[in-house]
Amino acid sequence: MELREIKALLALMRDFGLSELEIEDKKGKVRLVRAANSADEHHAASAAAPRSGAVRAAAGAAAPAAGLGGPISDARPPAAPELSPGHRYVQSPMVGTFYRAASPEADPFVEEGDSVRKGQPLCIIEAMKMMNEIEAEIGGKLIRILCENGQPVEYGQPLMIIEAG
């Protein structure tokens, strides 16, 4: 069973107020049970989901089941890779321009593969001519840098991936 099929089933559960769903056929078996008092539950889930472009894009792919599937225009939200267990996004706390270094001449704050300490500056988001240093919220290993130097980024956009450790 593919992820989008499960997503479609979950959407149905939410829309029809199901608490439990079990399907067994030649392709296999699925059992989904939702927490009681689900009204708040799915609210929280859907409020948590929107953060990253990845979720948004995936939702778009799965959506034909429930309503408008994708954008009506050609607008394309930034896509981000799915997270492996133990990995965490560094997300942009504001809209602005992403810079990897303190100045054009300076070295980048970090490179992929570096170890980072909690509180270490990782990048800069320029917004309204203000340079905002973004610091690591956890220590660990910097797995990937997701944005190009000088790229516009939106609120909540994943900038980097850190493996906690």
């Binding site: 959407a11 939410r14 829309d15 859907s46 409020a47 929107p50 953060r51 948004r56 939702a59 959506a63 429930a66 309503g67 408008l68 994708g70 954008p71 009506i72 225009s73 050609d74 607008a75 939200p77 504001m94 809209v95 602005g96 321009t97 917004a127 309204m128 516009p152 939106e154 609120y155 909540g156 956009q157």
Partner: protein
């Protein structure tokens, strides 16, 4: 024309502006909060940027985030829509300081008209009739309010000096009510606008809310586009608007229109605006306030004049001269707007949820401005206005029959809406005879509750037999 316009809003007005941009070949840059990632305005825009979390203060009211988005993503203009930052002088100023065209008047017009006692003083000086009320800069203490009320005579309307949207507004019918309601209204004002300054106005019974649409360029030319009757309100919030005002005469329109144009001229106003009046049963009219932005109900004026107000506002923001002369504005037929709210039609409580079975009416004379689609989750965080049904026909009676058909056709499941309320209004003899004032809806609903109560008593009696 502009190359890229940031739409600093959401919902119906964001969609309205995006459509106008598409027609004018302007790239539309939408902004949204995390709660709106699936909103229609996001899907329709050419680009969409998430600017913050669900709470409006952190997203749609977040001036730095919006300006930063405009600059980072290369917009050259900003349209504030209605609500949110549309009447925030600081925002208009911040846009212009950042080199962005702001689609609206100057910051000083916004601030001036936002200070209601000051606007009253200016209008009085300009010879625009103003209701008797508090003089000077307003009142902050009950003691002062009591003095003013004594001079004006009850009933009086308590209003917030920085007010808008019906907040901080109460009718007091005697000293006792004044004491109670003044404190309440002041608390509301403080919560909503951060201001304890209030003012009192003589409360006119049986007056209609009649407002004039203004268009003004930056070269001191001002015209009006006729009036709208917005008397059908609940707690000073408009529910149903129509154009023209059904009791308007050509002569009164000229007189009120001239006063409205004068109100704009006297402050050197530019772009679109609305001058609101109370029209008393005796034909006298009084300035209430001026809204320095596009209104929710601008569509009815568009239908009867054939003029695209959003398009005009964009041209005016570019510095263009007015394309139209006053005599070219002709009222053709009649139009009504039905605000569709996601709310319980009986309790008026908001009704968020996931929209299903959505079917919007269509056909001749039916215009829909909607933020809905099947599967869309109406968020809890914002205004419950989810759609507007605008109906146009040759005359008011034809509008009513067409609107009834369209409202009956309108399907939205998954949330509750006020469509049933609109249908009930369209059955009400006083409404059909156009005999109503701003108290119509409260009378109508009181009557409805009374009838229900009587019915319940009757049913209980029958059961007891």
């Amino acid at each position: 024309m502009f190359k890229k316009l940031l739409v600093a809003n959401r919902g119906t007005i964001a969609i309205r502006i995006i459509r106008a941009c598409r027609e004018l070949n302007i790239a539309a840059l939408a902004v949204y909060s995390t709660a709106d990632k699936d909103a229609l305005h996001v899907r329709m825009a050419d680009e969409a940027v998430c600017i913050g979390p669900a709470a409006a203060e952190d997203s749609y009211l977040n001036i730095p985030a919006i300006i930063s988005t405009a600059l980072t993503y290369g917009a050259d203009a900003v349209h504030p829509g209605y609500g949110f930052l549309s009447e925030n002088g600081d925002f208009a100023e911040a846009c212009r300081r950042s080199g962005l065209h702001f689609v609206g008047p100057l910051a000083r017009h916004i601030r001036l008209m936002g200070d209601k006692p000051r606007a009253r003083r200016i209008m009085t000086r300009a010879g625009v009739p103003v209701l008797p009320g508090s003089e000077g800069k307003g009142v902050t203490e009950l003691r002062e309010a009591q003095v003013d009320a004594g001079r004006l005579g009850f009933p009086v309307l308590i209003k917030a000096a920085a007010g808008g949207g019906g907040k901080g507004m109460r009718v007091a019918r005697d000293q006792k009510e004044l004491a109670r309601l003044f404190a309440l209204a002041r608390a509301e004002s403080e919560a909503a606008f951060g201001s304890r300054t209030m003012y009192l106005e003589k409360y006119l019974e049986h007056a209609r809310h009649v407002e004039f649409q203004i268009l003004a360029d930056t070269h001191r030319n001002v015209i009006h586009m006729g009036e709208r009757d917005c008397s059908i309100q609940r707690r000073h919030q408009k529910v149903l608007e129509e154009a023209p005002c059904p009791v308007m005469t050509a002569r009164l329109r000229e007189k009120m229109g001239r006063a409205a144009v004068r109100a704009a001229e006297v402050v050197g106003y530019s772009n679109v605006g609305t001058v609101e009046f109370l029209l008393a049963a005796d034909g006298n009219f009084y300035f209430i306030e001026m809204n320095t932005r596009i209104q929710v109900e601008h569509g009815v004026t568009e239908m009867v004049t054939g003029i695209d107000l959003v398009r005009e506002s964009l041209a005016l923001a570019m510095g263009d001269r007015l394309r139209l002369k006053q005599r070219q504005v002709v009222i053709d037929g009649a139009a009504m707007e039905f605000r569709i709210y996601a709310e319980d039609p009986d309790t008026h409580l908001p009704s968020p949820g996931v929209v299903s079975n959505h079917h919007a009416p269509g056909g001749l004379g039916v215009r829909v401005e909607s933020a809905l689609y099947d599967g869309y989750r109406v968020p809890v965080h914002y205004d419950p206005l989810i759609a507007k049904l605008i109906v146009h026909a040759g005359d008011r009676a034809a509008v009513v029959t067409r609107a009834r058909a369209a409202l009956r056709e309108y399907l939205v499941d998954g949330i509750k809406t006020n469509i049933p309320l609109h249908l009930r209004i369209l059955q009400e003899p006083d409404f059909l005879r156009a005999e109503f004032a701003t108290d119509f809806l409260s009378r109508f609903e009181r009557a409805g509750h009374a009838a229900e109560a009587a019915h319940a008593v009757e049913a209980a009696r029958a059961a007891g037999r």
